[in-house]
Amino acid sequence: MSHRILIIDDEDDIREVAALSLETVANWQVYTANSGSQGLARAIEHQPDAILLDVMMPGMDGPSTFRELRKNPATAHIPVLLLTAKVQSSDQRRFADLGVEAILFKPFDPLTLSTQISDVLGWS
């Protein structure tokens, strides 16, 4: 089954590799945004099945974007997975406390990224 996913990440290399991976391996429809504010707008417009959200972004960072997504009735229901290169356990606990569906780590394997997301969201 084809899913629709929004990737929000300010780093264009990560954003494009993730999009390529999900499109090529899983045949999902992918939308992208390069900032938290653009991501909010795209989420409202496209109503994706899930959002892959980078943590460290200038301006509105991942946790702030997540809180805005949850506040808005148009996006509050969309599952969010955080994507981070932070590996320290204190950071992981802080992110888990936000209430996201899962935390995925950079670097990711482009061959298995869609499987990781599917497993978390019960799409397998």
Binding site: E11, D13, S21, T24, A85, P107, F108, P110
Partner: protein, 110 residues
């Protein structure tokens, strides 16, 4: 996964690597400059944060392109640059040699 999909993904990743190679070089250049500056004296907060951000981005990216060792090295530098460090010869040497190894790794991927 069928081999066709795997090959298509690998080929597309190679194209993307070449597309983003200048960006990787810029990030390493920041790390090389920080190492050089550190050898001469303490880094400014701005230099330190810039180096930490570059290392963080490389740590997140290199492994995705198959350079797992690059992610390990970049994480080491990210950790070092996350703290205020007093100049010392051993650390200056380590920062410089790690940045140099990162550059070699990046240049070795085709």
């Amino acid at each position: 996964m069928d081999p066709g999909t795997e090959n298509a993904l690998a080929a597309a990743l190679d194209r993307m690597w070449n597309q983003f190679l200048p960006q990787m070089h810029e990030r390493v250049q920041v790390l090389e400059a920080a190492a050089q500056a550190f050898a001469a004296g303490p880094l400014s907060l701005n230099q330190q944060q810039e180096a930490q951000a570059s290392a963080h981005k490389l740590a997140g990216t290199l492994g995705t392109f198959g350079l797992t060792r690059g992610t390990v090295l970049a994480r080491e530098l990210e950790l070092i640059y996350s703290q205020q460090n007093e100049p010392e010869d051993d650390l200056a040497e380590r920062l410089a040699s790690t940045a140099a190894e990162l550059r070699r790794l990046i240049d070795s991927r085709r």
